[in-house]
Symmetry: C2
Subunit: 494 residues, 2 copies
Amino acid sequence: MKETLKKFREIVKNKKKIESTLALIQWDMETTVPKGGQSLIAEIIGDLSLKSYEISTSKELIELLDVLNENKNSLTELERIEVECLREENEKLKKIPAEEYREFSELTVKAQGIWVEAREKNDFNIFKGTLEKIFEYSKKFAKYRNVNEKPYNVFLDDYEKGMTIEKLDNFFLNLKSEIVPLLQKIKEKKVNFIPKNKVSIENQKKLSKYIAEYIGFDFERGVISESAHPFTLTVSPDDVRLTSRYFEDMPFSSVFSAIHEGGHGIYEQGIGSELKETVLAEGTSTSIHESQSRFYENMIGRSKEFWFGICPVANKYYEFIKKENLDELYKEINIVTPSLIRVEADELTYSLHIMVRYEIEKGLFNGEYTVENLPKIWNEKMKEYLGVEPVNDSEGVLQDVHWSCGLIGYFPSYALGNAYSAQIYMAMRKDLDIEQLLLNGKISKITEWLHNKIHKYGKSKTPQELIKQISGEDLNSKYYIDYLKEKYSKIYEL
Amino acid sequence: MKETLKKFREIVKNKKKIESTLALIQWDMETTVPKGGQSLIAEIIGDLSLKSYEISTSKELIELLDVLNENKNSLTELERIEVECLREENEKLKKIPAEEYREFSELTVKAQGIWVEAREKNDFNIFKGTLEKIFEYSKKFAKYRNVNEKPYNVFLDDYEKGMTIEKLDNFFLNLKSEIVPLLQKIKEKKVNFIPKNKVSIENQKKLSKYIAEYIGFDFERGVISESAHPFTLTVSPDDVRLTSRYFEDMPFSSVFSAIHEGGHGIYEQGIGSELKETVLAEGTSTSIHESQSRFYENMIGRSKEFWFGICPVANKYYEFIKKENLDELYKEINIVTPSLIRVEADELTYSLHIMVRYEIEKGLFNGEYTVENLPKIWNEKMKEYLGVEPVNDSEGVLQDVHWSCGLIGYFPSYALGNAYSAQIYMAMRKDLDIEQLLLNGKISKITEWLHNKIHKYGKSKTPQELIKQISGEDLNSKYYIDYLKEKYSKIYEL
């Protein structure tokens, strides 16, 4: 057994190193590579993906996993979970032929370049054929993996174990039936707001960095950089990378990106050191990940108390932020304006953007929609749920990078993450006086709570286990809906 | 034969891809990685170096090379050169045991972190033990490779084929005997100059980018980024990366970095496309590389005509640059001030900095010096040749990254590059009216000349072949000495 475990650890180490290399190359692709280098980097990513696939499906690993599984009783609990986790991954991957896996990896890397071009030229037709291929591969892979399951369910389950179309239909129906009327009432109030403050990019960078550090992001084990779309990428828990973007006339866009990505980053950096050498050293699901980023962004970052706590520093870089103006600031950063771009959406309408994407993915899988018609379908849904309609594809169907990366079934995580964040927030309130801590600048107590209840476990507990342990019940969208209704009724005096 | 060539091309492709991956990771290490990620990235670089070593010394490749070598006559000229080049590399590498090769790769990556710390803390003792190890490995490797040769010659030959201690002693003696007295005369003139112009970093970035593009750097196939020390790194000729650094009160530091690194970059981007899939798609030697960067930096960038040609644009970003001030500007950018830091050295004293390093490397190999005593030796030599003495190790022996990277025997390339650049400049003058082209903003004719005489050949011609073809003779330091004497006698009215 000792020898088996030793061999197992070696393979895992190798696998993790390939994945870290892949992460480093992906980081370069997102932040640096010039146009001329794109095709080579695509090939390198293809090679590394294949390599990682080969390790995960190698006969050697499978045999080791079988032996370890048969001798479960002599394993520690963490080892058991790790073995189970790898067995599952293996089950998923081995059904996809290696060559097709590689083709798909390369396709999605190239697709990102094509998507960028389509968006720049504002022409869905440039991207259409590629997107069709991505969905074709996805359908094929879903069939390989589970011929008896609805293809879309196969992918939903990847991101959130046990998630199904049925559950999500129900989830979004609840949200829709509450948020759409609430939004209607807010619109009737006809509150208009035109942001007027400009802040130099240098000062925005300083405040963003300060806030990331303040909420607990460790710059000895992480960096913040720039990219067209903010994201977080983990090379290892000791090397976590955030990006943001800066516009002089939108001084809060960068700050909220820093808080949001900082939330992701703190999660990754907070993974327990006992997991470091295992495959469990990552976030447990995209939804829980999103719950952390959105918790910091919305529950913390969009509260008056947070800004009160950091007011002296914020004022150094954003002169207009003053203690006597915080009521006004609070309204500004919580303004509800149905808009076209998801990443700039306010907290209330955000989930409606996700619903549009969810329904489209579902429709593409069940044959109701075709890629060809997506721009039209997109625009219709935006009009129906949000009351706004894109005038071109860049601010419509072409706005998100996800599909070009082959991330199908990922979008619902954002909405589920919102729901998780509210449920976690309500549970935290029972233990901590959040408002008082923020007023006193003691945010570290909040991060510590999350660390002990979520971060440190990495992937060793499922989302279901975590939320049950934290709140005593399963994920329940009621908390999120109540939170939104209470907050926005107050702000808009409904 | 067709089958052999096909297999050969596959291995070369694979080897090049590993090297590009390594370049991407090295770029990350130099520009991005946080402290926490350093040890993992060091391990990844170690793995990839080993992998590249394994390919280069693989039985499969050696056998193919033997077959190709035996059938030379059915190869094209380029194929013959490529085979020869790989056979030589193979000869060098195979004598070093794989495990030691890997150890040395990892050592040098870690050494860079240690060197950074030593420099920050201004304490040579932190770095001493590591540097000793690096020189020990180097001595051992030299013995493995050629037990009958002086160890330092083995490394000199790596960077410039045929280079020896004897030749370099002679080369530096010539330089020293001319430059030191010239410098003495200039010092006696007691011209003092305190730069007074500040330029915002944003504007410095704009002018740097403009100039890089103006001299011919293609931003579709390259990027410019920031790092503590400017450098150029090639992922492929279609992905060439420069860095620079910016200080508000030293507005020319960034610009000359951009021109210098731009010169390296243009060389790499200009390599003929017929070489793209071969191992010949890189600069032929570090000296020729340095000749290109220093040609642009000194012969072009420090000329009055260059600034006249770009004056309208330069004035947009650097307001004080005006046609009526160019005489003054010319003096400012050609001021001679013996100083402590090589990368900030003026054109005249630069080679003296190199001489210090050359003599130290030579002395470490022949047993005259020990690592222990380096700070003292360094300071003495600086005083003797330049008349200035460091007060701490950071501005003395700890200033350069090279030794920590294991680059032993590299420094002389800088001085040889200077000599090449002057010889090339003199040859170019026979074909082109350089001053007139610069006055008219037609620098592209100059870059085209270099492209056709040097860049396009990549590694398919040796430095010796190139300089002979260009100037009709071997490298001759006379051109460089004449150039310096003429230029500085005029500026300082000697």
